[in-house]
Symmetry: C2
DNA sequence: CTGTTAGCGCCTTCAT
DNA sequence: ATGAAGGCGCTAACAG
């Protein structure tokens, strides 16, 4: 079968313990010469420590669990990839769990991950995991992404959704828009709430209407964005139907919804950005290839991933992990959807 | 600490072995009454078998490894999600590895996954893993997706790329197109090669030009598709520059490339589908929200996932897994990009 | 500095 | 039908 520590020990003419000391750099010192001999034996035999046995002893497994929404949303796909890369760069691996909307599978995932002795859990905003995570919190470090950690001892990485959204809305205002709608994410998710808050704050700060009539909620999907856009823009929609002023611009809470919204505009015969200007949140790659390309508040995906991973991995270093929290800022990426560019059609990417 | 089998045994007033028999339904029978008592104890104590210990004994870990390209390509994102769902539905979990282009990390992933005792490996087309997988093949079942299994003992799930592409091209031909270009995926990947073959076969079968001049290779990314489109369509591109006839239609090997190609057309002032008709391969959700929406050959994602998972999980059931192979057919999804629909009037360029 | 050894939690013959 | 005991590969305390 596979080569074990005993084989290495025999080959190097030492005891099993010494092999351990060499592999783990401790807890006891080893003579330089002996160490070389052992290393050679390991090399020659192609010995690899058995992760299971180590875990059984309570050691680290080099595996962290990632709980995330569907990667059909390109933002989550990009974020997941960034996290995976950051983890692998530090010799860890990812156990993944996709927690879709209403499914209560969350608890099962958490339990299974704990069973598999993950060294930590990275959880991307999903309000349904509350109870499941409570008891997990005591067993392994947890980092929340895009969600304030209410759990004792857990950490969080946030982007400043309020400031980012406000900035995006301000950009729209700078183009002269006054009636600016808001397509929100699913209610109940912190990020959704904050982005609406950012839109509202910015509209209020210059005295524009920010009543709930201008807010349409939808899932973080193309269809969600499309439906929300209809609500705000269609002749039979909420606003037009009651004779209210129809927005000349919309702040959309995610790129994927913006793509759906553009689709809706297209079907309604509205041009983007001429008839309706759009700015969204996320700044994904595919948004830049949308037609028109999206002006969006880009989330600092790689920084988010780096911080989250660091909070998990560096916690083990000294003591039981002191909870941390980081708040990152996004930046605006200019595309065509806001009406900024006159040179539509003449630029290269 | 956590509750072990000993606790359950004590609580139920039986020996540890009996607990095992109950948990695993064997290998020895247990009296119905005793069984109930043990089950009750398990329930009350919230006992969960230690996966690590079981794996140490050579048992299944309920974890399978998935090696895939970047989920920034929505097709892979959808496929990965389908696989994850299929696996979880059968009480397994996914260790994920994203293997990007030229990185030779493949070997590391495979080794790490084996270390973690995965019950199987699902590998989505990546030519770089050859050597790494050779020795893995003996240790765990492997299923290749979109790639013929050359490895002894491994299985594969394929979609009929040649037939699918040919069908897509035929659709273009039915609209009257004769000069049809081909945007290919990265050379070296079986699926790429086959899709070009399908395009060529169909063009040849009706006597149209299918020379290499009409084929442009590119990565499975937006940028890859954009660049390839330039090659075929731009005034300074390969064809126009030499006075050759410029395609009135293009078969694109993936949705994500098609999105890039549309972008290129837009920048070149070419309307889709009026000036250039497009049909792509994949049939992802986001393709339906592209502008124009994509006519595409949809891959049977859920069937692919189901088959792949079944090949891994059902192999363990009886004997050492008899290698299987399944070939699935796609179906054409009609969108606006091919020019089928007359109701594109609502779109402006 | 290096060797010995007792578990970690579980499964599985082998007895009873 | 049930219990006892060995061992999976590794770590860490405890000798030497």
């Amino acid at each position: 079968m596979s080569v074990t520590r005993v084989d290495v020990a025999r080959r190097a003419g030492v005891s099993e313990a010494v092999v351990s000391y060499v592999v783990n750099d401790g807890p006891r010192p080893v003579a330089a010469e002996t160490r070389e001999r052992v290393k050679a034996a390991i090399e020659e035999l192609g010995y690899r420590p058995n992760v299971m046995a180590k875990a059984l002893m309570g050691g680290a497994t080099g595996t962290v669990g990632l709980l995330m929404p569907s990667p059909a949303n390109p933002f989550f796909a990009e974020l997941a990839e960034a996290i995976e890369k950051a983890l692998v760069a530090r010799d860890n691996h990812v156990l993944i769990g996709i927690v879709t909307g209403a499914s209560a599978r969350g608890e099962e995932y958490v339990a299974s991950f704990i069973d598999r002795r993950v060294d930590g859990l990275i959880v991307i905003a999903n309000p349904l995991l509350e109870t499941a995570l409570v008891d997990a919190a005591g067993r392994t470090p947890i980092v929340f992404l895009d969600r304030i950690a209410k759990l004792r001892g857990s950490s969080s990485v946030m982007v400043d959704n309020v400031a980012g959204s406000a900035y995006a809305v301000e950009h729209l205002q700078s183009h002269g828009h006054r009636v600016i709608g808001c397509i929100a994410g699913p209610p109940g998710i912190g990020a959704s709430v904050d982005r609406v808050a950012g839109w509202r704050r910015q509209q209020q700060s210059v005295g524009h209407d920010s009543s709930d009539d201008f807010v349409a909620f939808g899932e973080f999907t193309e269809a969600g964005g499309e439906a929300a856009a209809y609500t705000l823009l269609a002749p039979e929609g909420r606003l037009a139907a009651t004779g209210r002023e129809v927005p000349s611009a919309i702040f959309v809470s995610s790129d994927i919804q913006a793509i759906g919204a553009i689709h809706a505009c297209s079907l309604l015969g509205l041009r983007v950005p001429e008839d309706v200007a759009l700015v969204s949140f996320d700044g994904t790659k595919i948004g830049q290839f949308a037609r028109p390309s999206l002006t969006a508040l880009r989330q600092p995906i790689h920084d988010m991933a780096r911080d989250a991973v660091s909070m998990i991995l560096d916690s083990d270093d000294g003591r039981p992990a002191r909870p941390r929290a980081s708040v990152l800022q996004g930046n605006l990426v200019l595309g065509e959807s806001c009406g900024c560019r006159d040179d539509v059609g003449s630029h290269r990417v």
